[in-house]
Amino acid sequence: MLRLPCPYCGLRDEPEFAFGGPSHIIRPTLEATDAQWTAYLFNRDNPLGVHYERWAHAYGCGQWFNVARHTATHEILAVYRMGDPKPALEAGAAR
């Protein structure tokens, strides 16, 4: 069970949160081609390593925020608010 550091409530258990997929996805405009739009809908990166992703404290404060998590070790490397830019992290940072 992960324990996630909500930027507003502090460290809480994983079941309190809803996962929202990767962060920093730019929604294309209506002018996107079919291929661009389909990629936006269905294609996602699946890295072994640091993953920047969105979480909502669904059963707490209800706020969305961003997390940098290592997909193999589950180490939380960074937590930043929704709308903040992606933080600079050392490559290969893991436990």
């Binding site: 739009w37 969105r54 969305w64 070790t73 929704m82 436990r95």
Partner: protein, 954 residues
């Protein structure tokens, strides 16, 4: 020997039997036979004391098996406990505390445990080699044999009813979690407690102290037993320490969350107490003082009753005053078993000798034996044993100095063989914590390889170096057991490697070594060494299999905790629930809500009730509790702009006091939810969702507001529970409302369809809108939830002259079918887009962007042969889900029936269906396929009833 049982030492030998209370005799049964033991006994110790040596039959070959260990690592002596709904299989008799009236049963053996015809399987053992089920018992199919083979395996049986016991969860945060209350663990806990940390100390045994208190050792000038007792008391008294006994640590999860399973013994249970407690511990530091597990020696026929681990034999003597035999041989490859020789001699048991597989036995050990007049057989290892039912003799082989093999052998008559292959630290939890382990040559055991930031193992002092051989160099590999529980022999490991399953993970799965309830605690390490030898590698190169939770089996009820039965999923009710229950409502689950399906009258069937209610609505008036309907308010200067981005409908033309039916899509263009958007004011909107969609839509809107459009000034508030929604529907609705005290003008001109009025009704604030799901004139009246019962009763009273009836969800869902009204989730699925259900033009006509808009022009979503919603008319009722085929179709299916029922007034069957390019097929006759039966229906354009909507719009 005197004392209860032929193998129990007399009370005069006070240094033995420290755990039992001879003053309290306990009666229990095994396979229907009565026995007695003492308080403090386990089932295993009491049965051994009574001279019972065979407790089970082996998994495949039905060989008799006895007690092998004195702890949780027991692979043989597993029993069924109790009967009926509380019967538990695969219970370790070595951990099962006696209580008065305990009933236990062996797993296998027919006709009986001691006379088991299944033994014949031992003589055709080749049939049961690893992976046999992939190679044999295949014709006509595995299932022909599966049931019989499973029954023969004898793993006990499942309880025959729901678990009646209670289980609790406890959540705890602490600074230091100490797992293991032996001497090392107690020391760690004392240190942490003295430093002021919040400490949780857990040990799986009935008391603290671990194994050290039973081997007569001394600590700080006092006996280990006294030291442990005083340490335990000090810890229990401390405010900052929680001491848990009978508590196993079962799993180590991410972020250093550790689960513990605490057992409440039957003899301590009181009414209201749980049977087990599942602790979820979040610790800053975890100390793993989990000790070590003794390993066996591998030789021919090393599985007979009477063969057990040396440390276990010593525990039975010291803890329970039980002698495991009369004529005992000890076979070891290290120093630790020598203490057993001393203890057995003290107990008056004949020790025939100690076989030590080392060529060079330490001088001190040799001297000890000499002083006890016990023979030492250096460089000797068992090579075979005999005894059809229980152990009767052991053949020892003298190991050659060079070149492997033995130079001589000698048979000894004995009834017990205590083996010690050295100890391996119990590091399962460390591995679960993602700590790395590796095989160490010096100690011939696993050891931590890295430093874990939180989990700190404290290694046991039983770690020995200079171990002798563990494996007999001669004999038949098919008679040398590696995994006692799953009956895996050395020949199975050889077979796996021959068939190219070389990775240790593959060998494990192919042979099932280490995969049973004991999780290979006494078999993984020997297997690792054997595989290394067979592959010509070093054990450190082989790696090890992944350790996974749980460390010991966990009752499912403990993991569930209180979340079962009525607490499995909370059930929501409206403020009208009591009225429904008191008036014949059949209350059923609709999503998370308990709602009236139908209000049954005496003597009528469910279908008759539904039709009666529907007729009443269409003829005069009906009353419906719509409170579960999702209601969300959007406030702010940008509320309308925000809301407009969610719907396919252009909402920007909505005016205050008006409502509009809308469809909400996912980004992929598929239908997410439908509902009504009501404009209360230019900066205040009320949207309704399906009853099941309230949470989903609120969360969806919040996500977009916070993540994508934070610049829009809008707040989102769910008000579903705040308002009770009473739906008055039917041609006489207006007349009924006119009789009530209100400031609202109900007339059709003042209050048209899709209008909203806010005012007062019966003295309470009310919000009423005219939206209809029945197809009749409908007023959806919202009052504060607490005021709903009063309104409901008043409407029933006012409607009595008009024969008003309460109606349930089923007749509502049926009435909407003949109107062709969509039920999202029934008539739609995860692929349905607006055009499929006739809303394509509305979506296309909106120029502003909305969620899903871009997807609607993707090639898949504009295919001409997509399934489209149409109506079906037929002679008889069509089952929902029936498949349809167009004439001259070359497709396996052209669609299916999504909703079906009867017209309220005529009783004629009506149905909605998704049909390939259906809108162009009006008038076509399709075949209807259901479970092999074929009927026919005609495609019609819905609605079937009041197509112009005059009744609804009036």
């Amino acid at each position: 020997m005197s004392g209860t049982g032929p193998s129990r030492l007399g009370a005069d030998k006070t240094q033995f039997g420290g755990a039992i209370d001879r003053a309290r005799t306990i009666r229990f049964s095994f396979d229907g036979k009565s026995f007695t033991g003492f308080a403090g006994d386990t089932l295993a110790s009491a049965l051994l004391a009574s001279g019972i040596r065979t407790l089970s039959r082996s998994f495949k070959f039905h060989r008799p098996r006895g007690v092998f260990t004195c702890g949780i690592e027991e692979p043989n002596a597993l029993v069924q406990v109790g009967k009926g709904a509380v019967s538990v299989p695969s219970t370790r008799s070595t951990m099962l505390e006696l209580h008065e009236g305990l009933e236990t049963f062996s797993h296998a053996g027919w006709p009986s445990l001691n006379t088991d015809l299944g033994r014949v399987l031992d003589f055709v053992s080749l049939l049961w080699a690893a992976g046999f089920y992939n190679k044999t018992f295949k014709w006509p199919s595995w299932h022909t044999y599966e049931d019989l083979i499973r029954r023969m395996a004898g793993s006990g049986h499942a309880p025959t009813g729901s678990d009646p016991d209670r289980y609790e969860w406890r959540n705890v945060h602490c600074d230091v979690l100490v797992i293991g209350g032996g001497i090392a663990g107690l020391r760690e806990a004392l240190t942490a407690a003295d430093a002021g940390s919040r400490v949780v100390l857990a040990d799986q045994d009935v008391a603290m102290g671990g194994r050290g208190v039973w081997d007569g050792s001394q600590i700080e000038g006092t006996s280990a037993a006294s030291w442990a007792r005083m340490a335990g008391e000090k810890l229990r008294r401390a405010d900052n320490v929680t001491v848990l006994s009978r508590t196993s640590a079962v799993g180590y999860y991410e972020r250093d969350v550790v689960t513990l399973l605490e057992r409440v013994p039957v003899h301590q249970a009181r009414p209201g107490m749980p049977r087990e407690c599942y602790w979820i511990v979040r610790a800053n530091r975890v100390i793993l003082a989990t000790g070590a597990i003794e390993q066996p020696l591998i030789f021919d026929n090393n599985d007979r009753p009477g063969i057990l681990l040396a440390g276990a034999a010593q525990q039975y003597l010291r803890r329970y005053a039980v002698a495991v035999g009369r004529r005992v041989i000890i076979a070891t490859n290290n120093d630790t078993a020598y203490a057993l020789a001393r203890d057995l001699k003290e107990a008056g048991v004949t020790v025939l000798g100690v076989a030590d597989s080392r060529h060079e036995v330490p001088q001190a050990r040799a001297a000890e034996l000499s002083a006890l007049s016990i023979p030492l057989w250096a460089a000797c290892i068992p090579v075979d044993t005999g005894g059809f039912s229980t152990l009767s003799n052991v053949t020892l082989g003298k190991l050659a100095r060079e070149g492997g093999g033995i130079v001589s052998q000698e048979r000894h008559v004995c009834d017990a063989l205590a083996v010690s292959g050295g100890w391996t630290p119990s590091l399962h939890l460390y591995s679960q914590a993602a700590g790395a382990l590796a095989y160490r040559e010096e100690t011939r055991s696993l050891a931590p390889l890295n430093e874990h930031p939180v989990a700190k193992p404290v290694l046991s002092t039983t770690q020995q170096t200079g171990l002798g051989p563990r494996h007999s160099p001669v004999g038949k590999s098919s008679r040398q057991w590696v995994d006692l529980r799953h009956d895996v022999t050395v020949s199975d490991l050889e077979l796996a490697l021959r068939e190219n399953f070389t990775s240790i993970e593959h060998v494990k799965r192919y042979t099932t070594v280490g995969m049973s309830v004991d999780q290979g605690k006494t078999s993984n390490l020997p297997a690792l060494e054997i595989i290394a030898r067979l592959r010509g590698r070093k054990p450190a190169q082989i790696g090890h299999t992944t350790f996974r939770p749980p460390y010991v089996p966990v009752t499912l009820g403990a993991i569930t905790g209180r979340g079962s039965g009525p607490f499995f999923a909370p059930s929501r009710t409206t403020t009208l629930y009591e009225w429904h229950a008191a008036h014949g409502a059949v209350l059923e689950d609709y999503g998370e809500w308990k709602r009236p399906a139908v209000y049954l009258r005496p003597g009528e069937s469910r279908h008759e009730g539904i039709m009666r209610e529907a007729r009443a609505v269409r003829s005069s008036a009906g009353l419906f509790d719509g409170s579960p309907l999702g209601k969300i308010e959007l406030h702010g200067p940008d509320a309308l702009e925000f809301c407009d981005r969610f719907y396919i409908n252009n909402l920007k033309t909505l005016k205050p006091g008006r409502a509009r039916y809308g469809l909400m899509l996912r980004e992929s263009g598929t239908l997410l939810d439908d509902g009504t958007v009501v404009m209360l004011a230019p900066d205040r909107l009320l949207i309704t969702t399906t009853s099941g969609g309230a949470h989903r839509v609120t969360a969806w809107m919040e996500e977009w507001r916070q993540c994508e459009w934070p610049q829009l000034r809008v707040t989102i508030t769910q008000v579903t529970d705040a308002w009770g929604t009473v739906s008055l529907t039917g041609p006489r609705s207006r007349e009924i409302l006119a009789t009530l005290d209100s400031d609202v003008d109900w007339s059709g001109t003042a209050f048209p369809h899709l209008g909203l009025r806010e005012g007062r009704l019966l003295g309470a604030p009310a919000r009423i809108y005219r939206v209809s799901f029945t197809g009749e004139l409908t007023y959806e009246i919202n009052v504060p939830a607490s005021a709903a019962p009063t309104l409901w009763e008043a409407l029933l009273k006012a409607g009595a002259p008009y024969d008003i009836q309460a109606f349930g969800v089923e007749s509502l869902l049926q009435m909407r079918i003949e109107k062709g009204f969509l039920h999202v989730g029934a008539d739609t699925d995860g692929t349905t887009v607006p055009d499929d259900v006739g809303w394509g033009k509305v979506a296309a006509g909106k120029s502003a962007d909305f969620i899903g808009k871009r997807s609607l022009s993707l090639p898949e979503n504009v295919r001409p042969d997509r399934l489209q919603l149409i109506g079906l008319s037929s002679e008889s009722l069509i089952p929902i889900g029936s498949h349809l085929r167009l004439p001259d179709s070359d497709q396996p299916t052209d669609g299916w029936v999504t909703s079906a029922g009867r017209a309220a007034l005529t009783g004629a069957p009506v149905a909605l269906a998704l049909l390939r390019a259906g809108r162009g097929k009006t008038g076509v006759e399709v075949s209807v396929h259901n479970m092999g039966a074929i009927t026919h229906a005609k495609v019609v354009e819905p609605p079937f009833y009041d197509p112009a909507g005059e009744r609804m719009n009036g």
